[in-house]
Symmetry: C3
């Protein structure tokens, strides 16, 4: 078995290996992801290696952009009609030529291990790797559902907008396929007033839910109904990506809503509206039991060039300093001790771990600390996270690893990395006589498997 990521000290490494061995084969519980359910619904062979592994992965395209290679050269679709590289082999070569940029990043780890463990391809990334992958992709055992089985996934949550008609999930159900693919209620596109086209989407929300969204009350009704529908598709949680963690009741929310239907509102009104809606969603959670996930702190579309040329969600968001202590207080005041409430809070700002997130989760029963998110889902960052939050919040106020990925083939390695980092952290506690080996093994089992199932009600 590989010693990847285990500490070099022989004694600690031996303990880490022993701990890891006990969880290496556990099924994958993925309560928070971005995989397109259509992949599994259609179950057609993956397209070429570039379209599978490079073009849709922002971690890869943003790193190449940082060195002057625009996403279009990697096949990313432009919204301005400009030229895009469509030759998959050339995309792969551009990528292979710049492979050294990824040294020390999780992308390198993920891709190398995916190639080795999923595709059976060892060694460095070269031009030839393309052909090797391509030769696998035509085989039946490399079709999505076959991989799902091979990956030993117990449950996979995808993420849909309330506007999604669920046709892809329908197809999965109709097929009678045994995999458990559930949805997650992600309403940002109908909550974020700053997001271009919001009035249209609210109108479509009314249509899909058969509610009159011309009033704020009708809008809330529509959201409630869609949550009920999402629950039928297996949803156990909602997911909210906001620029800040601000929550708060706004007396004039209905008036802001009306103004926003008629035209643009100020950034401040957008913030007030989002803060109010988090409180509304919390109340809905009390009723319908959906776990509430909040991942705040990204300045969306910070990179103006990317946004103009390629649109949203192409790696152009940048984190900002995030307050939790004051921002979450209204919600915690209201429902922090309500047994019906469960709130999983993520962060892009690790400089809140010991000061805010661990103390909050370490006292409010409704709150759990989500796994390190985007930019922080890497070995060093995962390690720092455990080192920082455990002393105040313990292991049992954390929510377990989430892969948060669109890259289906990378799901196993991402969970494996998390298990290895946790095993290494626990091994150190054992080596330093802070836990017994039995305690560490039991803890690792819990945080790998039992805890995420419990926290996300799976």
């Amino acid at each position: 078995m590989s010693d990847l990521l285990f500490p070099a000290d022989p004694q600690t490494r031996a303990i880490a290996r022993e701990l890891y061995t006990q969880v290496a084969g556990l099924p994958i519980v993925s309560p928070h992801g971005r995989v397109d359910p259509g992949i599994l619904a259609d179950d057609v062979p993956f397209p070429d290696p570039a379209a599978l592994l490079i073009t849709p992965d922002h971690y890869l395209t943003r790193m190449l952009l940082s060195q002057g290679i625009p996403p279009g050269e990697l096949g990313v679709r432009r919204i301005d009609g400009g030229p895009v590289q469509t030759d998959a082999r050339r995309i792969w070569r551009t990528f292979a030529d710049n492979w050294k940029l990824f040294r020390g990043t999780p992308s390198k780890l993920w891709l190398e291990r995916t190639l080795r463990d999923v595709f059976g391809i060892d060694g460095p990334i070269t031009y030839d790797t393309y052909d090797l992958i391509e030769s696998r992709l035509v085989l039946p055992e490399f079709r999505p559902r076959a991989l799902y089985r091979r990956f030993n996934i117990e449950v996979l949550a995808t993420t849909e907008s309330p506007l999604d008609n669920m046709s892809r999930h329908d197809k999965l159900d109709e097929d009678g396929w045994i995999g458990r693919v559930i949805t997650t209620f992600r309403p940002d596109d109908v909550v974020d007033l700053d997001w271009l086209g919001w009035p249209d989407r609210v109108w479509r929300l009314g249509e899909i839910s058969n509610c009159d969204t011309s009033t704020f009350d009708g809008y809330l009704d529509a959201l409630r109904r869609r949550r009920r529908v999402f629950k039928k598709y297996g949803a156990t949680s909602s997911d909210h990506g906001h620029p800040t963690a601000q929550v708060g009741v706004a007396d004039d929310v209905a008036a802001i809503y009306q103004r926003a239907l008629r035209g643009p509102v100020s950034m401040q009104e957008g913030e007030i509206f989002r803060a109010h809606m988090l409180m509304e969603f919390a109340r809905m959670s009390l009723d319908d039991g959906l776990v509430m996930q909040l991942h705040p702190g990204a300045v969306r579309n910070h990179n103006r060039f990317l946004h103009r040329t390629y649109g949203r969600d192409v790696g152009g968001d940048i984190p900002q300093a995030t307050d939790y202590t004051w921002a979450l207080k209204p919600l915690l005041d209201a429902y922090g001790h309500d047994p019906r409430m469960r709130l999983v809070v993520y962060t892009l700002d690790e400089y809140t771990y010991t000061r805010e997130l661990a103390p909050l989760a370490g006292v409010y029963p409704s709150m759990f600390i989500g796994a390190p998110w985007w930019f922080l889902d890497a070995p060093e960052a995962l390690r720092r996270w455990r080192e920082a939050v455990t002393e105040t919040a313990g292991f049992y106020n954390t929510a377990g690893f989430v892969d948060d990925t669109r890259a289906f083939c990378s799901i196993p390695v991402r969970h494996d990395v998390s298990r290895r980092v946790d095993a290494s952290f626990l091994a150190r506690l054992v080596a330093e006589h802070r836990l017994t080996l039995d305690e560490a093994a039991d803890t690792l089992m819990d945080i790998t498997y039992s805890l995420p199932k419990k926290v996300f009600k799976l």
Copy 2:
């Protein structure tokens, strides 16, 4: 000797062990604590194990609360008249049933080592542990003064309000007992205008000091007189717990004082008043020589449920981001180079170590960095603190470990953990050829014993 907390690498561990051995037996200097002096004044046997070890320890009760077990079930008195568990054995069982929550926390370390080293009880926490402890508590060698001697405490500072009549300290003095238990001047309850009942307390301050506190000048006089009284009870320092580190002279402070006597003032006025009072206390320090301790950054009573049900000081405070660079400037401008001034600054916000605290203490002669405080008084956090502040401030601008605890029996293990972490950090510097073994040993002796005595004028 146990290798608890020493790095696993054999060479570094051997050095750490050698360094630690030289300080393991040094007397405990505890210049900043919360022990009730009545415990030592009365010297009666401790009550049951739950009342001794669980009920008064917020680290324990908040962790159980975070998993839905309210403090009342652990015996914490409610201010709303609600039911409280009074069966000590049941409290212990509730605690033992949830012992796994504390894995990876300092509470686990402290309690296990206290049981082993103080009570001679080894092994995991079970229901039976209760009886084992109980059987010790009736013995004379487990009465407070006997333990004080066994703990090898050289000096223990307690913390009192200016309103305290010092009867407990009187009793200690009258008894002619040889232990050195000194007080600390902690005036927050008469300085914090937001704290309910402030006018009454100010009136009592006038009474106890025989001053007319209906004027701001009289109020200052009263504080000065109480400080003189506290010095008679051994005080060498004052202690100030504020939501921020803000210091600053306010021209209209007397007017704010008058308004506050008549009714509630704004949060902003409360902040201005506290900032001004820090400057006043600094001036008093110039005269009477009390070392000024400032521990800012806690949002008091953040947890509304806890505050309403159980009152203050039950683990419901949450840290917030804390500025020092600008907040302390007025005080440092005025007295940062005055040899009569000594200011020990603590933090709940470790994300200020290299940016603010170390650069400030590394240039202003009056300022020292206090040991990592609440939430940060744990092995990983103590290690990060040394790693962060030492390169800019060295060892000699830090103030030595403080236990800051109400839990009398945990004092030895808390100091022991600090000595082990410091020994481990210094061992690494030796292993990496950054210090000689002699330099490391001399440094460890200094920061364990000589430095706190010097900084706190003990």
Copy 3:
């Protein structure tokens, strides 16, 4: 070969040693420094050991000040006419008496290694060390140009104000000396309206550039001309030290300029002016190709006592929390993807690494992360920097080590420390199977030598 700073684990240490060996002998590339070019221009023997090693080093004088020894006792010139110690031997003794204060700091490392490697003096710092150094300083091989050769410096950038007449650089050129000493354009003294005497300096700027600086346009012209002159003296970059990273176009900048010529302006106007000027300098960089260096976050002259008694730049600056995500956005919006732009951003606030600096540099092609700056140019801080930024930005969006020092003799050891820390970090990646040994060796070569040459256009 010494194992200084290598991790203690034998396997990792062996890898670190092997990696380090391959770069230990590489020439020094120093693209950002503060050495007085007059030292090399005049090439006279260094004065006494105190004037060479103690008096001009703020790291040393501020640490002694923090323990109550004023800079005047170490020979630092006072601007208030007060007494200054001029006996070099007594200065040395004061320093030697307090040598233990530096345990755990980089100053200790730098000085001990400088004495050993440059002067051949081993062992602790004592009174006698003075005489040993003095005996070397009279020898021809210890004159500045001889040391420059011995240090194996390939290029050394000094830093000059636009008001500098370049006479020292002229002398270097006239001599036909082979060393490559280039200048850097550092215009803070004519950009910072808060800096006393700004109108006079702007008048001198007009004079030296033969422009009419009574108008804002003339002022911009003058700066453009000086940049052209600086390029003739080898400059490949400009350097900007601002209290914040704020950039932004101000419509009324010409009016602020006029008001500032006539008298003091507000702090806010000063901030607006600096922000605007960063945008102007960015535009100039598009034209003349100078790499733009920004090191924000220092509150200048925080220490009022130091400022009043000793003036500027004597160690009295203190960092403050620094925002990059919003502050840099206007510049990145405008030129973040312009191939003519290159921006190297430093920080005094390490609590922005994963949240802001790495995500920004990891997507904007024009931006690079500068090496850890003042207070962070030490082993632990350098290690934390690599651990934090690499996972998001990789190695190739960083700019290579800069020594940023006035202390000529310490240049080799500072670069050596950086090489050792990088080798140790890479060795851990190898030991944990995250990089192959070949990848690590190639990376270390790049970040030590090739990358700084490329980023700084050397």
